[in-house]
Amino acid sequence: MDESVLFSIRLSLQVAAVSTALIVLTGLPLAYFLARRDFSGRELLDVLLTIPLVLPPTVTGYYLIILFGRNGFIGKYLYSLTGWSIMFTWYAAVLASYVVALPLMIKTARAAIESVDGSLIDASYTLGHSEPDTALKVILPLAKRGIVAGMVLSFARAMGEFGATLMLAGNLPGKTSTMPLAIYSLAGSGEWSQAHFMVLLLTMMSGIFLYVANRYSRRII
C-alpha cells in the first residue's frame, strides 16, 4: 500500500481520537450543565454550541479562521506570544473536527441525562449524597449508553470531517491530508484504485460506527 495512503489513515485515526477525547472532556460537563441547570440563556448556549451541526462546514471553517487564523481574534495573540499558528498543522484538523463533532456529543448526552428519572436523583440526595457524587454514581451511569453513542458518533463525524479541515488545515500531503482530503486529491488526479480503497474503508468504518452507536443508544432497562 502507498505510504501516503497509510499516512492518511493514521492521521485520520489520530485526529478523530484526539478530538473525541477533547469532546468527552468538555462536551460531557457542558451537556450535564445544559440538562440539569435552569439559567437564562441556556437554549442560546445550546444553539451556539450545536450550530455547526447545521452550518456548511466551510462556514464553520471560515469562523475558525476568523478566530484562530494568524490575524484572527485569538490567533493573533497566540502568534505574537509564541510565533506559532495553528493554521495548516494537524492541530487545526483536530480543532475543526472538535467543533464540527462536538454538537453530536452535546445533543446525545444532554438527551440521555435529561431522560434519567428525577426521583432517582432525588433519592440520591435524600440518601445523603452531594450533587457531584450523584452525577458520578447515578446520573452518568444511567445515561451511559447515550454518552457512549455520542462518543461513537463524534468519532465517526471527526473521521469524515472535510470542509472545515480543508479551510483551516489545508490539504498538505504528508502533513494534514486526512482520509477525506486524500480522497479528494486522489479523485482529482485520477488515481482511482487508491481512491476506491479509501472510500470503501471509510464507508465500512462509518457503517460500523453507526451500528455501534445505534446499539448503544437503545434504552438500558
Binding site: A123, T126, L127, L142
Partner: protein, 234 residues
C-alpha cells in the same frame, strides 16, 4: 420536640398552607390526590423550597424562612421512600442498600448493610437487580436503604399503593416494627383511610392544601365528619 412543620407554598395555582407536629410516632397524612400530602414530604426533605415556613426536628431547624436557614436535601437527616420506590436499576440489592450510607467506613457499612438484609428478610437476594425481585421485596429494599444512614425521621410517600391487599397488610405490620425498632417519627402518605386507621398513631387529614382534621384514628372516626374525604371513606 419531635418533628414540627409549618409550610406555605404556591405552585401552579395550588396553594399549600399547613402546620403540624408529631412525636416519635407513626403519623399518616391522609387525603385525596392533589391535597398537598406528597408536596409536604418533598418540602420537609428539602426536595422543593417552600415560600414560607419552618421545619424543625427536636433541637435542629432545617428550614426557616425568617432566618434564611435552608439545609440542602443531602444534609437533612430524613429517610425518604418514594412512591415509585426509586431503586437504582444499575445497582444490586446490596448496592442499593450500601448507597444509603454515604459517609460510613467501608467495613462498618458492609456489616450494617448485612444486618439490614437479615432484618428485612432479604437474605439470598443481595446480588439481584431491582427488576429481578418482587414488589414486596422492592418495598423492603427501599425502606432498608432509607434507614441505612440512621435517619432521625422516615417519610414514606404512598409506597404501598402498587401492592395487592395481602402484601399491603404485611407491609403495615412491618412499618409498625420499624417505628418500634428505630423510635423515630414515621410519616406515611396515603389516600386509603382503611390503611390510615389500621396503622396510624395519629392521622392528619388534608383537604385542598389545608389541614381539615387531626387526631387518633378513633377520634377521627367518632368525630362528626365535616370533611368530604372522611365522609366518603369511613
Amino acid at each position: 420536640m419531635g418533628l414540627q412543620v409549618s409550610l406555605q407554598k404556591k405552585l401552579n395555582g395550588f396553594n399549600l398552607d399547613i402546620g403540624w407536629e408529631i412525636r416519635n410516632e407513626l403519623a399518616v397524612l391522609f387525603g385525596f390526590s392533589g391535597a398537598g400530602k406528597s408536596m409536604t414530604l418533598q418540602l420537609i426533605a428539602g426536595l422543593m423550597r417552600p415560600d414560607n415556613g419552618r421545619v424543625s426536628l427536636d433541637d435542629t431547624i432545617y428550614y426557616d424562612s425568617v432566618t434564611n436557614t435552608d439545609f440542602p436535601a443531602n444534609k437533612r437527616p430524613f429517610g425518604y421512600v418514594f412512591q415509585n420506590l426509586a431503586l437504582f436499576p444499575h445497582m444490586t440489592v446490596i448496592g442499593n442498600i450500601l448507597y444509603g450510607a454515604p459517609s460510613a467506613q467501608k467495613h462498618e457499612k458492609m456489616n450494617h448493610a448485612l444486618e439490614m438484609i437479615r432484618a428485612f428478610r432479604l437474605a439470598g437476594l443481595e446480588g439481584r437487580y431491582p427488576h429481578e425481585i418482587s414488589g414486596g421485596q422492592k418495598q423492603r429494599v427501599a425502606v432498608a436503604r432509607a434507614l441505612m444512614r440512621r435517619p432521625r425521621a422516615l417519610l414514606l410517600d404512598e409506597p404501598f399503593s402498587a401492592l395487592d391487599r395481602p402484601l399491603r397488610i404485611e407491609m403495615r405490620g412491618f412499618l409498625r416494627e420499624v417505628r418500634d425498632e428505630f423510635n423515630i417519627p414515621v410519616i406515611l402518605v396515603t389516600h386509603d383511610f382503611e390503611e390510615a386507621s389500621a396503622i396510624a398513631d395519629k392521622v392528619i387529614i388534608y383537604e385542598h392544601g389545608r389541614i381539615a382534621q387531626t387526631g387518633t384514628p378513633e377520634e377521627i372516626r367518632s368525630a362528626e365528619t365535616p370533611s368530604g374525604a372522611c365522609a366518603v371513606r369511613v
